[in-house]
Structure formats: C-alpha cells, structure tokens
C-alpha cells in the first residue's frame, strides 16, 4: 500500500520518498543536521524563523502566509529539533493532495516545493527588525519551556544527568546568546551552515518518487556546490557514573510534584539490541498494560500518568510521573522495584503484549505523513537506513530473554524531583 525509496539527489542532499495513495495530504520537509554541541547552536535555532520572513520572492511574513492560504491552507513551519546529539533545523510543510484542488489550480506540491526553496535558499539580506523580532519570539519560547511542567521535569533531569555532555544543551538556543545575534552575524552563519550541513529532504504523498526527485532537484538548484560537509556525531553513549544515584530536587510554585528518573541504557538504534530495548520500554512504562501503569497508577493510585520513554540516538531512558509531593518516596521505590523485578526476568506474555502494541503503533504510523516525516528525518540525521518495515520485522524476532537482557542494561542514574511548592 506504500513504498519507500531512498536516494541521493547530489552530494550532501538525501531524499526519502514514501509513496502512498492513502493520505489526503502530502508532506514535504527539509532539515539541516548540525552538531548539538557546536558553537553556533543559538544562531542555528534562530535561522528558520528569520528565513521564513526574509525570502526575496515573498518578502515579509504576510506574503508567505497568503501564499500558503492560497495553497488551500498549506502549512510550512520552521522546525528545530534535538535528536540525540544533533540539532535539526529546517521546515516541515504539508498540503492537501492535488485531487482535492479546484480545476486549473496548478500543482499544489510544486507550489509548496517552490515556496520551501524560496525560503530556505533564496533569502534577501536579513533586516534588523526581522532578526530582533524573531529573536524576541524565540527567547519567549525558550523562557516558556518551564511552563509545561511534565516535559520540563524530564528536560531538567537530563540536564543534570548529562551535564558534561552536549545532550544537555537546549536545542532552541540560550536566551542571552539569541538576544546578542546581529543580522550580519546571522547572515554569515547562514552561509556557513548552507555550505557545510548535510541537507535531508522527505516527501510522503501520492506522487511517484521520480517525479518528486525531479521537481526537488530543480527546487534545490540554488544550493551552492559544497566541498566540506560536517556531519553530527553519534558517539558511543557515556557509561553509568558509578553506583551512587544522583539526586536532585528543585521547587516550582505549582500544586503537583513531578518525578523524573533518568536511566542509562547504552543501547541506541545503531545496536542489534535496539528492538529488545524498544520492547523493554513498552513493558516497563510504554503502554497501559505496562508495569508502571498497572502498579503506580492502577494498584497504588498514586498518579494519573507514570510512563517511560527512550531517546533512540542517545541510549538513555526517562521515567516520569505526576504525583503528590508526599508520594515521592513511595512512587520512586515502586518504579525502581519494578525495574529490578524486570531485570530478574520478564514474562513471555508481557513481551507478546508489548510486541503487539509496538508493532501496531509502528504500522499505524503509515497512515500519518507527519509521523513518517519525524521517523525518517531522525533516521537520516543519524545515517540510519532501516525502514519502518525492517524495524517491525526485527521486533518480531525478539525473545523474552532479549528483553530481560535489555532491562539489565538500564541503570538508574539520576532521580529528579520537581517539588510543588504550592500554586
């Protein structure tokens, strides 16, 4: 029902095409991959926001917005992501499929690709007003990261756990650095990024891969010839730091406490054990039949959510739960207890349930162009060529022993508690 094609348009420009007739929309994205630890991180984060308002062909923000609305409300959003120790910056676009447009409209995909290339590759010189306005907006976004306590607790936990690693950096940049960026510096940075960063394109929609490749090759012609490309590195993850748990408590003026426990797994998507780690995560805290959901929530009634998630390019895992302050010792003890139990062995039944659940979620991604975009852009940034189907196939071969072995590799490193100090 769908077909995945991977190709290189030219040196340093990769393209992944998922051809499907199922979706009523198509998705197009362009991502530049940069090392997260690089000095220009704050400038790189600001780039897509400034580029969106600096195109020669569509000067100003409203010209772009009007063009998008004329493309039936197409979306073209600046994006900044952290994937392992890479910072991805670029644009994600989606537009309705050609067959729903009125006759004589011309190609919606071509229109979107042309707009994307106009923003990314053909900027006018950056004006001071745009740069300072977008810098302020970005600073406001960075400052508002703590507003969402659930994700903030996990972020803070990783910042403590990985304090010595590039991973602790904020992908959106640092407020002081963002504020200090001048239009000239940003323009110079743009030219250096465009000269050295690998560019990955992704398309999902009804058009054949050859047609897409042909149109994107034309749209990307404005990209200069590049001599030296700098790829982000995905080094072997750091080993656990001794046997002592790092404990950190911080306070925020909120009602509910947030517990985040960081673990080092050392297993990334590059490893043979990766599918076993995926299933371990599902058994531990990834689904509503997981150990954490059944014990911390359903048996002990301590929380609304208790879940785990991994970063597949970093080899780390976070458990997070929202609880009463007073429940912290009990919740923490139960989470660590469940981990120890799983390290003694998981049951074949829970592995089967996890396998069905993970397989279903991965298959369901095929219906969602934006989920596929995220998956394949992350794969591409790390140089991974495995397709969704290949990953699903690997997951079918995992045994309960494999999952137990993966569980044993998960070593608790940092216990972070965001204590509610009253709203």
């Amino acid at each position: 029902m769908y077909h995945t094609t991977k190709m290189s348009l030219k040196d340093g420009i990769g393209l992944t095409c998922v051809t499907t007739k199922q979706s009523k929309t198509s998705c197009l994205s362009a991502m530049l991959a940069l090392p997260l630890g690089a000095e220009g991180r704050s400038k790189s984060a600001l780039l897509p926001y400034v580029l969106r308002s600096s195109s020669r062909a569509y000067p100003g923000r409203q010209a772009v917005a009007a063009q998008l609305d004329n493309l039936y409300g197409a979306r073209l959003e600046p994006v900044v992501r952290k994937r392992g120790e890479a910072q991805l910056v670029g644009f994600v676009a989606d537009v309705i499929d050609e067959r729903f447009a009125m006759p004589g409209e011309g190609s919606l995909f071509a229109g979107t690709a042309q707009l994307l290339s106009a923003l990314l590759l053909k900027p006018d010189s950056f004006d001071a007003e745009t740069v300072s306005r977008e810098a302020e907006q970005l600073c406001a976004r960075i400052a508002s990261l703590p507003d969402d306590k659930r994700s903030w607790a996990v972020r803070r936990m990783y910042q403590h756990m990985c304090a010595q690693e590039a991973y602790s950096a904020v992908e959106l940049g640092d407020i002081d650095a963002v504020r200090a960026i001048s239009p000239e510096e940003l323009e110079a940075h743009y030219h250096s990024v465009i000269q050295t960063a690998p560019l990955e394109l992704f398309y999902c929609g009804s058009l054949p891969a050859e047609t897409v490749a042909q149109q994107l090759r034309e749209a990307m012609q404005a990209l200069p010839e590049r001599k030296t490309l700098i790829y982000p590195q995905f080094d072997a993850p750091c080993a656990p730091q001794g046997t002592q748990l790092r404990e950190v408590t911080e306070e925020e003026p909120v009602a509910q406490g947030k517990l985040a426990i960081g673990l080092r797994t050392g297993i990334t998507a590059f490893d043979d054990d990766y599918p076993a780690m995926v299933l371990f995560n599902a058994c531990f805290g990834g689904t509503t039949s997981s150990r954490l959901f059944r014990t911390v929530r359903e048996q002990l009634s301590l929380c609304y959510y208790a879940s785990s998630q991994t970063d597949k390019l970093k080899g780390v895992m976070a458990v997070s739960s929202g609880i009463e302050n007073a429940s912290e010792p009990k919740a923490r003890a139960e989470i660590l207890h469940q981990l120890e139990e799983m390290q003694d062995g998981v049951t074949a039944d829970e592995v089967e349930a996890a396998r069905r659940s993970v397989t279903a979620s991965l298959r369901a991604m095929q219906d969602s162009p934006l989920s596929l975009e995220n998956f394949y852009q992350t794969q591409a940034a790390a140089g991974l060529t495995e397709t969704l189907d290949e990953l699903i196939a690997r997951i079918q071969t995992v045994t309960a022993e494999d999952v137990t072995r993966a569980a044993r590799k998960a070593v608790p490193d940092t216990v972070y508690f965001l204590k509610g100090a009253g709203a």
């Binding site: 029902m1 499907t20 199922q22 979706s23 929309t25 923000r61 409203q62 917005a65 009007a66 998008l68 609305d69 004329n70 493309l71 039936y72 409300g73 197409a74 989606d94 537009v95 309705i96 499929d97 067959r99 729903f100 306005r133 302020e136 907006q137 406001a140 976004r141 400052a143 508002s144 703590p146 507003d147 306590k149 659930r150 003026p253 909120v254 009602a255 509910q256 689904t287 509503t288 039949s289 059944r294 929530r297 009634s301 301590l302 929380c303 609304y304 929202g322 609880i323 349930a353 396998r355 069905r356 659940s357 397989t359 279903a360 298959r363 369901a364 991604m365 095929q366 219906d367 709203a423």
Partner: protein, 423 residues
C-alpha cells in the same frame, strides 16, 4: 444500510440505525493501515442538570469524566488491559458535549469492537474501585490545575457564561468529585448511556454487516428513556469583562472570548464561526500581520470557535506581553469588519484555507470519527463541510462578527506571571 457518497472528497459513509436506537456510521479506508472505532455518548460535562423518570437531578461537577474513567472497569478485569493485550491502543475523552471511548488497531478489529461495545454498555461500579479512582483523577485534576492553557480556557468560559454549565471545568475539582459514589454513577449511566444516545463510528477496514451484527448482539435490546437536559436561561451578554489569574508562566497567556447567539444549525455554525474568526485575525489577515510585526502576538496565537448545546462563542488565544492591547485591537478590527470592512481577497483566501484544513482533518481515521461524533449529535455528517464552505457568503461571516462586536459580548481571561519582571 444507507450509503452516502461524497465523490469530490473521495469518501462515503455507510450508516444504519438499530432497533434499539443505536446509530452506526462506517467510513471505509481500504488502503489504510489502521482501523479506528469510537463509541460516543451524547453526554458531556454540561449535562449536569436533568430530569429522569420524573426526578430532577443536579449532579456534581466532573461526574461525566469520572464515569468515563470508571467504565473501563469490568467485573472480570479492566478493558484497557484487554485492549493492550491485543496490541490495540485504547483511550477515551470527556468534553463539554460528549464522552467518547475509542480504540485504534491494525489487526484483530472484531475482538476490539466486542470489548468496546461491551464495556461501555455494562456498568460495574464498586465502593472500592470508585474510591481508588479518586486518587488517579485527583492527580489528573492537579495536573490540569497547573496547566496555564487549561486554566485560561476554564476562565474564559466563566467570564462568558453566568448560568450555562459550560462555565464549569470538565473534570470538576478534587472537592466536587469527593462525594461521587456508585449510586450516582449508576444514575448517570441509566440517564445517558442507552443505545439511542450512543453512536458507533468506525473508520478503516471492516465488514459493515458484521459490525451491525455485533452491535445488535452486544448492546442492550432496548433503550431506556433518555434524560431531559436543562441548561438554564443564559443572559445574552458576557458575565464578566475580565478575569485574571496568577500562575507559574513566563509571560501572560490570554483568551478573548466573544459570546455568540444560540445556533439553530450547530454544525454549519461551527464552520462559519471558525471562518469568521480567521477573517478577524487568521495567519494571513491584515490584523495578524500588524500585531505580529508589533510583537504583540506570536506563533501561539490562534483564532477558534466553539459550539455546544444552547451556546456558541469565538475564542482568540495566545501569549502576549500586553493582552489588553491585543483585546483592543481585536475589538476594533471586529467593529471595522462589522461596518463592511472585510476585503473580498481575505474572505476568499480564508475560505480556501478552511476547506483545506478540513480535507486535512478527514485524512486521519481518528479525526474522521471524532468529527462524525460531533456532527451526528447535531444532525449532520462530517463530510458536509464541503457544502457549507461552498455556499457560505461574506455576509454570513460579517453577521457573526457583528454579533461579537456588539456591546458587552466579550470577556478576556489573562493568566499572568506570579512575579513582576519574570519575562
């Protein structure tokens, strides 16, 4: 079976009504990977004053949502675990207007459908399982209490509505759920969970006759009488012009609500209202461009519209250093448009974008089911949007905006930072 085709949208709905009154709607997606099934109950948090078998009830806030949690509990276990054991992804939500239970699967659809039909129509409440849920929901409410966007939403509805129960938070409060017991839950289930008040909606791959056969076999043979609802006599104007709360936010968050008249055709009104809100300050509107340029709004700004039984309102939400200035600008723009100032180009562009947005929404089976649940409870179909956007006139839009710009129709809620100079 009746089939309604929408050739321009590449979709159709197969539908029937069982003898017990249950409505069934199925939307085939032969090429998709997942199948999504939803059993929606026409019972939301606003339905808290009702008459059943001659007795008047005024039930405690949050009970519809509490009931949603408790339905998963079955005499022989928990439906959540049964779904996940099959690899399916179950969930549920309660809104002001409905309670919906749903499941996503990529295989074993009929097993999932059987669980869904059974648990929603089979109450099983014990003192013990009700007490346990208070801990879990108490933490869910604690999480909402700390979520600024939710508090802004609750605030603006309080500001707009003096009498209508839409001003009460969907989940209630820790205090309001304290008295809930099995008997109260039983009354609500009897009042609203009869087949005639339910809709079964499926999108994906299925055999229609088999779906009907299962629904006939598993749901009760007869419907009880559905309770009569009472929303009170709501004044025409907003209850309070301004509400402010202080929370742990980095900068002020706001929602400006504009009270509208009670819609005769809620489905069409929802679409026209959304389009009108976009014409006031959608992304490509002149006002958006000006406010963005002045740094008064940012990318979080969002115009929206909300219809519910016996009411409707527009909402403009976002973050701003000066919400009062945004309010003044929005109100001035509404008056300008009410006086005949809506440009044809803006109207045409916004209409095209709104149509594209709905095409995009119907791409996802989960969204199709949710849209159909909302539409069918007000006597429409989720694919009627093409017809509504095809016939909507500029005067329809201006009429809405004129209503919002009348004296005393707006209410602003601001969630302000706790400390001055925290931005």
């Amino acid at each position: 079976m009746t089939t309604i085709s929408y050739p321009n949208l590449d979709d159709c709905i197969q539908t029937t009504v069982l003898d017990n009154g249950l409505h069934i709607y199925c939307v085939p997606r032969e090429r998709g990977a997942k199948t999504f099934a939803m059993l929606a109950v026409n019972f939301g948090s606003v339905d808290c004053r009702f008459t059943l078998d001659g007795t008047k009830y005024d039930v405690t806030p949050g009970i519809a949502h509490f009931l949603e949690h408790k339905m998963f509990e079955e005499e022989d276990g928990n439906a959540l675990q049964k779904f996940t054991a099959l690899g399916a992804q179950p969930n549920a939500f309660t809104s002001h207007t409905m309670t919906a239970y749903h499941v996503t699967c990529t295989d074993r659809f009929y097993d999932c459908l059987e669980i869904l039909l059974r648990f929603v129509t089979t109450p099983y409440f014990t003192d013990q399982n009700v007490a346990k849920e208070k801990g879990i929901i108490g933490q869910e409410i604690g999480m909402l209490d700390d979520t600024p966007s939710w508090q802004a939403y609750v605030g603006v509805l309080e500001g707009l509505y003096a009498v209508h129960p839409v001003h009460i938070s969907v989940a209630g409060s820790k205090e309001s759920i304290a008295p809930i017991d099995p008997q109260m839950l039983g009354v609500c289930h009897r009042a609203f969970y009869s087949p005639a008040n339910l809709a079964l909606i499926v999108c994906g791959q299925y055999d229609f006759d088999r779906v009907v056969e299962m629904a006939e076999r598993i749901t009760p043979k007869q419907s009880a009488r559905i309770a009569a609802r009472d929303y009170g006599a709501e004044p025409e104007q907003a209850a309070l012009p301004y509400i402010e709360r202080r929370m742990a936010v980095s900068r002020p968050m706001f929602i400006l609500g504009c009270k509208d008249t009670v819609p005769e055709q809620p489905y069409a009104r929802q679409l026209v209202g959304e389009l009108a809100a976009d014409c006031v300050c959608g992304k490509s509107s002149p006002l958006y461009d000006r406010l963005y340029g002045e740094g008064l709004i940012d990318r979080t700004f969002d115009p929206d519209y909300f219809t519910f039984p016996d009411g409707a309102c527009a909402m403009f939400s976002g973050e701003s250093r000066d919400p009062q200035a945004v309010r003044a600008a929005l109100e001035a723009e509404m008056r300008r448009i009410a006086g005949g100032g809506l440009e044809d180009a803006v109207f045409t562009r916004m209409k095209k974008a709104a149509y594209g947005k709905y095409i995009r929404r119907t791409s996802d089976p989960a969204e199709v089911c949710r849209m159909q649940a909302e539409a069918c409870f007000s006597g429409a179909s989720c694919f009627d949007f093409a017809e509504v956007f095809g016939s909507v006139t500029k005067e329809d839009i201006v009429q809405r905006i004129r209503q919002w710009s009348a004296d005393g129709m707006t209410s602003l809620t601001v969630i302000a930072p706790q400390k001055e100079g925290n931005a």
